[in-house]
Symmetry: C2
């Protein structure tokens, strides 16, 4: 079973809709990078039991995303924020070359500050 | 039963997790602004039946938001985007006063374009 990086991202969005048992198993597997055998040992269940729990949880996460598409929407926001930050930096570079106007400099700083606040780890 | 504007916003995020019947009733009530009696007449069910379906759907939407908080996260993004756009406009105004540098003007336009693409109606 290959670890799917997309699952880590979906877990951030929809993880709280899983049962505690499911979420704990998926987090141990994806976020703490434990093996199925290690998770099974920790919980005193079979490796197959852990595998099934994770598979079910993954299916639920993928189904939630298929229905709601919120991770995709957030991804679009993050991509746009990257472009916005690049533009803001370019404005500041040009501003420096043009005499470093303080009004422009301050507004660029505010844009970068706002963009950073709403950025999500991917 | 007062119409809760928050529900319209949550419907946009989590509506696809409701059953078809629930979603249709909530959309008719909130988005098309029909009365309970009108919705009941359309579907040949009782007014009380429609009311119950909408109440259940509202509870589900509020519970999803309580668990996942994605509407709140999007709201934060939208608020930040408003500030980013205001700053971009201020930069352009200052740029006009300072001789209208084309590099700055183009990057401001790109910021506004990106922000508009990811803006959500609220």
């Amino acid at each position: 079973m290959a670890k799917d990086l997309k699952i880590t991202f979906l877990l951030d969005f929809y993880g709280d809709m899983l049962t505690d048992t499911q979420r704990e198993a998926v987090e141990a597997y994806y976020n703490e990078d434990l093996s199925l055998a290690e998770i099974a040992l920790d919980r005193d269940v079979t490796r197959q039991g852990v595998r099934d729990a994770i598979k079910r949880a993954e299916q639920q996460l993928l189904e939630m995303e298929e229905r709601l598409g919120l991770a995709r929407r957030f991804k679009e926001v993050q991509d746009a924020l990257t472009v916005i930050c690049d533009c803001a930096v370019s404005i500041e570079e040009q501003n420096s070359r043009m005499g470093d106007d303080p009004v422009i400099r301050e507004h660029v700083a505010q844009i970068l500050d706002c963009a950073e606040k709403i950025a999500v780890d991917q």
